[in-house]
């Protein structure tokens, strides 16, 4: 009886294993399709989503049976950032392909062996398609573990309908003109600018501060100690902006509130990146066609410097499988080719670190390209240059500065203690 049972068990086991063996033999005869998982943030309502999805489909069709890229949608950016951090901390790449906002904080990811180093993969032809400055900014200790893809300039937005209503017919070209225009707006009961100290980066005010600091200290101002006179003067200027030329709720206000004031016409001057240009609620405003984009008038000796940042760098998981690494490189070459980038730019109006001949036709998007080209040079904003922790301290202490709880010198000293040297 016992022997019979054992025999049945062995037979059952053989029956289970046979199909597996047969399948293995069948597969060894044909080339295995490589599947690449892409944790993409350009999904859902994102303006880049349709073009990105079409490109992935095009690539999959061209490489049918060899490579298949599968998009894993990441619609919530904050949750996505947490996923990237925790996955890398747990010793796993979040996906085969993913993006990061490159700054000194995320540059820590370069220490991970889980990320592919593109330095050896980037041939001259491919390298030539990228903006050299962006490639250099993405290189840490000789490693290029993320490729610059989406970039952004952070100019100043003027609601010219509001400006014209107080007799200002052109964007201010000098500091004097700027304050004069702001005084006129204020006298007419319009808060001139949308400032804010809330959220973890005091976003719109951080952009203003970056413009001031760069104009006062030059494009390399972020290399100086934060106690440098350029920063102290910039702190005094941003304090004046919040106290005299913004809405009463600026201290503690978040980005939603700051943008909301501009959209509602309560403020006339705003600051944000090109992604804001594609918003439906902006297009619905009565002043949409009057919006002018430009730099901030020089408040120091450095003129025509535009504030910019690397908005999205693309990373890939390193792999022991050479075929898989090659498949990733093939896809990224396709995705970052000038023709692919032109397609994404056309639908989204976003700006890229890859050189293309594309020029937008949309008035607002075109102004971003014009403002970028008009600048003599670009410089990073505070967050892109000094990282998340320094920016958090900036945002927290900005409220105290605006409420006169601390002086500009104390403000700069407090931010300075957070900078790692």
């Amino acid at each position: 009886m016992m022997k019979k049972s054992r025999l049945i068990a062995v037979l059952l086991l053989l029956c289970l294993l046979f199909p597996l063996g047969a399948q293995g033999q069948a597969e060894s005869g044909q080339q295995k399709e490589i599947e690449l998982r892409w944790a993409s943030i350009w999904v859902g309502n994102d303006s880049k989503a349709p073009a990105v999805e079409a490109l992935v489909e095009e690539f999959n069709t061209k490489n049918a049976g060899k490579i298949k890229v599968v998009i894993e949608p990441q619609p919530d950016y904050n949750a996505y950032e947490q996923k990237v951090r925790t996955s890398l901390a747990a010793g796993q790449a979040p996906a085969d392909i993913f993006t990061i906002k490159f700054n000194p904080t995320t540059a820590t990811f370069y220490q991970s062996n889980l990320l592919m180093d593109f330095q050896g993969k980037l041939d001259d032809a491919w390298k030539g398609t990228f903006d050299a400055g962006s490639l250099e900014q993405s290189t840490v200790d000789g490693m290029l573990k993320s490729l610059p893809m989406e970039t952004a300039i952070l100019p100043i937005w003027y609601n010219m309908d509001a400006m014209k209503s107080v007799g200002v017919n052109a964007m201010p070209a000098t500091e004097q003109q700027m304050f004069s225009a702001f005084d006129k707006l204020k006298a007419a009961g319009i808060a001139p600018t949308s400032q804010m100290t809330g959220d973890t980066n005091a976003w719109t005010s951080m952009i203003w501060f970056s413009h001031f600091a760069v104009s006062l200290g030059g494009p390399n101002v972020w290399d100086k100690p934060f106690t440098d006179p350029a920063f102290v003067e910039a702190a005094n200027l941003i304090k004046r902006m919040i106290q005299e030329y913004s809405t009463a709720d600026a201290v503690g206000l978040g980005a939603g509130g700051s943008g909301g004031h501009f959209l509602a016409g309560r403020t006339a001057v705003f600051s944000n990146g090109p992604w804001y240009a594609g918003r439906a609620d902006l297009a619905a405003t009565p002043f949409f066609d009057s919006i002018k984009i430009g730099g901030l008038p020089a408040v120091g000796e450095y003129e025509d410097i535009m504030i910019s940042r690397l908005q999205a760098n693309i990373c890939a998981a390193s792999s022991k499988d050479a075929d898989k690494e090659q498949a990733i490189v093939d896809f990224l070459k396709f995705l970052t080719s000038p023709s692919s980038i032109a397609k994404i730019a056309e639908t989204s109006g976003a700006m890229f670190a890859i050189k293309t001949d594309y020029r937008p036709v949309n008035n607002l998007q075109k102004q971003f390209y014009d403002a970028n080209e008009a600048a003599s040079t670009t410089a990073f904003d505070l967050e892109a240059a000094l990282g998340a922790e320094v920016t958090l301290e900036f945002a927290q202490q900005l409220g105290a500065l605006a409420l006169d709880r601390i002086s500009a010198e104390e403000f700069c000293a407090l931010v300075d203690r957070k900078i790692e040297r």
């Binding site: 951090r85 925790t86 890398l88 901390a89 904080t105 820590t108 990811f109 220490q111 991970s112 100290t197 809330g198 959220d199 973890t200 809405t247 009463a248 709720d249 600026a250 201290v251 503690g252 206000l253 978040g254 990282g387 998340a388 922790e389 958090l392 945002a395 927290q396 202490q397 900005l398 409220g399 105290a400 409420l403 709880r405 601390i406």
Partner: protein, 297 residues
């Protein structure tokens, strides 16, 4: 004899089998993370690369950090507010509702309603209420001619504004206390009435002592929540302005955000220690006896 032995073995096997799933979950999702957190708090680690042992440096840095000191102070204010304002308020309402006044069922539902609404939604509503151009300033201006005030943007009022919108939601503790109060034997009140005791005297001498055990439990829960408070403040002020509303939970989160994993672990360990201290202190102060359960025995 052998049958008894086999039965005992079966009973023990069954006990282990029943305990195994929950024990495994407890080990993997509490014991292991707890010891991992304690371990990493003694290292220098940014979530990537190898950990370097650095002794108690993180603890020394944390204690000397003015932001953390502010967070600790705020958490103590939170714990006291929840334990000494929210729970007594809940107890007062429970004591009124237990006497079943007109519409008590409706009131019970209304008081509990905010507890079924998401914290995010409530926080957003209160951000609008506290806005410079919001309804609170409008009402105060109409009634007292007060000037507009930036409640969440002023370090002097931000903390109390956030605490206020939390402590007024007494529903959860009210329901717990009400359930307990409803179990107090009616005979005690009847005897007191025969002796001529007023309602107030009955509440002080019967209801409150009988609720002692439940009150200690609710206070412990409320204060422990106050020590680990995070959501509402993070949503309403992000810990600002100038760290005026920051808490240990926010400090921990922001350290994680800046990839300071080992320092975040140190904040986490501190949070656990503070929570344990609060519970121990409450037990020492009020004891753990419960007249209701003693009566039941």
């Amino acid at each position: 004899m052998q049958a008894v032995g086999t039965r005992n073995r079966w009973i023990w096997s069954a006990r282990i089998l029943f305990l195994l799933p929950v024990s495994l979950l407890f080990f993997f999702f509490f014991i292991y993370p707890f010891f991992f957190t304690v371990f990493t708090s003694f290292t220098s680690w940014r979530g990537i690369g190898s950990m370097k042992f650095n002794g108690v440096k993180n603890y020394a840095k944390l204690i000397a950090d003015p932001t953390f000191q502010k967070a600790l102070g705020n958490n103590i204010v939170w714990a006291l507010s929840q334990g000494l304002i929210q729970v007594p308020l809940a107890c007062l309402v429970a004591m009124i509702l237990v006497r079943k006044p007109f519409g008590w069922r409706g009131l019970r539902t209304i008081y509990y309603l905010p507890n079924v609404i998401s914290t995010v939604a409530l926080a957003m509503v209160w951000v609008a209420i506290y806005n410079v151009d919001g309804p609170l300033n409008a009402i105060l201006a109409d009634l007292f001619g007060m000037e507009k005030h930036n409640w969440l943007g002023n370090p002097d009022t931000a903390l109390f504004a956030v605490i206020f919108q939390t402590v007024i939601y007494i529903g959860y503790f009210m329901i717990v206390l009400l359930a307990s109060a409803m179990n107090i034997p009616r005979s005690l009140y009847e005897a007191a009435e025969i002796d001529g005791a007023s309602t107030l005297v009955q509440e002080i001498n019967i209801t409150l002592p009988m609720l002692r055990g439940t009150l200690i439990t609710t206070m412990t829960l409320a204060m422990a929540y106050g020590m680990r408070h995070f959501e509402a403040t993070f949503l309403m002020t992000g810990g600002g302005p100038a760290y005026a509303t920051t808490t240990m939970g926010i400090d921990l989160y922001l350290k994680m955000d800046a990839l300071r994993y080992s320092e975040a672990s140190t904040s986490g360990v501190f949070l656990i220690i503070m929570g344990t201290l609060v519970i121990t202190l409450l037990r020492k102060l009020f004891g753990s006896s419960d007249p209701m359960s003693e009566m039941a025995q």
